[in-house]
Symmetry: C2
Subunit: 373 residues, 2 copies
């Protein structure tokens, strides 16, 4: 999700005290927790994927979820020692079975396969079954950048979203990330949930006792709502666009494409049958596939044109947008990836602020696994 992290951080500061930790503190602790549940040393590097969310300001997808992953392991929905394997392939494609591993572990391996295939035949496309939540989409797509490739990453997720004209929740927030290398300019990184707003933004409003803007959610009967707690009362998130008049059928269609590429192309679960993240929520009775699904793509730039020419044009593109005339009250037009990159620099330097409930969660994990925190 593209968030303006400074605003998010400011919102947090308004209503909740925070404690700031260095990246290495949180990285070492997360690695230790993953080791304790049985991940081997290279898999414990999943910590890097998880922490990339905290660094980039997507606080809902970082260490705040660490305890959630452990709980999934507790109920045996996550396999800490998976045998991840390619079960079908062609020169440009593969299907990977994640063997119920952490998505944080399965996804980078699958993206690596996409990159290898792109090295060989120009592009690589990998659909993944039998996985779990994989952190932020950007962490995987951005792996392509250092190879002068465009990276693509998407995943399905458990149903929180009501399609246009639907009361029932049929799709997850199903994010898409596309990362494109540039030359002198930083890379273009678009990372977006296919909903008007991601669940993490509702949580911020909940803690502030504030309503949502229009077009974010509907209630259990399908009426428009601005109640930030409505998901707990049977309500739903809305696809990007909000309602039909504002293009929600487009957000719905995009979320559906993510579900089909991630779930159906791989043989994972799909639509309302995608397993939930909270370990206390029972699995859907119907399970048409295995685990949750992801989809990854890598396209070698020089499979199309010389990389230096492409990057020169990307620099020109990015500069053009930065120099566009901004709306009154706005300093400049942003390029996708700008806010997250600035946040990453800031947090790597000054630390990652965590709100009290997250700190308490991590302390309990430390106690359970006899680790220092």
């Amino acid at each position: 999700m593209v968030i303006v992290p400074n605003i998010q951080a400011m919102l947090f500061l308004c209503y909740m005290s925070e404690i700031t930790y260095s990246y290495s503190q949180l990285y070492n602790f997360t690695t230790a927790v993953f080791s304790k549940i049985g991940c081997n040393e290279s898999d414990a590097a999943a910590a890097k994927v998880l922490l990339s969310a905290d660094l980039r300001g997507v606080d809902s997808h970082g260490v705040a979820r660490l305890n959630g992953y452990v709980r999934l392991w507790d109920v045996k929905r996550v396999n800490a020692t998976p045998q991840i394997k390619t079960i079908h392939e062609t020169p440009s494609t593969a299907v990977v079975d994640g063997d119920s591993g952490l998505g944080l572990v399965v996804a980078p391996l699958a993206m690596k396969i996409a990159i290898e295939k792109a090295l060989n035949v120009g592009t690589g496309w990998v659909s993944v079954q039998n996985s779990n939540h994989y952190g932020i989409a950007a962490a995987h797509a951005m792996m392509a950048l250092e190879h002068d490739m465009i990276g693509i990453s998407m995943t399905n997720a458990s149903p929180l979203v009501a399609p246009t004209f639907s009361i029932d929740k049929m799709l997850g927030t199903n994010p898409i990330c596309v990362a494109v290398p540039a030359g002198q300019q930083p890379a273009f990184v678009a990372d977006l949930a296919t909903t008007t707003a991601a669940n993490g933004k509702l949580e911020i409003l909940q803690r502030k006792n504030r309503d949502t803007p229009s077009g974010w959610v509907q209630d259990a009967e399908g009426n428009p709502s601005t109640d930030a707690n409505i998901l707990k009362k049977g309500g739903a998130l809305l696809p990007l666009g909000g309602d039909r008049e504002h293009g929600s059928h487009k957000g719905y269609a995009l979320g559906a494409v993510v579900d089909i590429f991630s779930g159906i192309l791989s043989g994972a679960n799909y639509a309302p049958w995608v397993p939930p993240f909270p370990a206390y929520v029972p699995l859907p009775q119907k399970q048409p596939g295995k685990g949750i699904g992801h989809f990854f793509g890598a396209m070698r730039i020089d499979a199309f044109r010389p990389a230096d020419e492409f990057k020169k044009d990307m620099d020109d593109w990015i500069t053009g947008f930065r120099n566009a005339k901004p709306l009154p009250g706005h300093e400049k037009v942003l390029v996708p990836g700008d806010p997250e990159r600035e946040m990453e620099i800031e947090r790597m330097k000054n630390g990652i602020p965590l709100i009290e409930p997250v700190v308490e969660d991590l302390k309990k994990l430390a106690e359970r696994f006899e680790l220092a925190f």
Copy 2:
């Protein structure tokens, strides 16, 4: 663009008299016009692409544009006898130079190359430079369906859209289409402009002297507007989402991805420098590439899993959505592609209604080229 064509047709009926023509009447006439400007026999089949818009209810992209294409040929921006060629390729990719041909001719050839590459190595990806407007995105993506492939089609277009926080228009309406085969169910076809509403919807409101809903357009100073004529006064369309609070940064990011894949990957023009469709509008002074750009993809289903298994799951997916509980006042939840498919059946049977200004335009073309209409 996914449109609810019945509503669109009803809106037209409210305010403007129409004459209905059969598909074959319009097809034969369009083919004859393309022949008259010098297209060879196989290229004149571009009529089929153009007419697919009329059949599917996207009235703004069909024969209503025929005169526009001829005007582009008049000013030598369209080459009726192009030498279309692949200028770079790998096993899974190609870049095609359209030699200023009609996009309606160049695009199907490029999509065919993508399909051939998918037959060989699992997927095919073709970026196109030096082309012109290609009709509706769905016409090309859907070519993949009969090969049991997923089809992808996108194009950049001249700048009508202001990114989030921008006054300047930097992107076109940049549509994306993804077509996915099913088994017993009709194919899933998502075809969407990356704006809240496409320009064609503004035109409908203009003829009715009605305002737009909020979040569709802004005025020349960047203020929110509901004036359906605002584009003629320096205003802009808005990315899907409308404003930052409703996720316009996501629509902007998606439109940007379409521009990069279509324009920069191919060496076409990009961002605000994409040539305009109306022949009387001068070309931008800066032309960083050649013509306008498209991007096509084809993924063989059985490069991932057996096609019959995939299609069975697609049928289950589609049935699940159709059986979701609809909002009060709505008969059912639609699957992307439903309205256009129903419209196509209806219009193939009962004819294609054209509004008076379009009929007048076609009559003038008939007179000019000494054709019967």
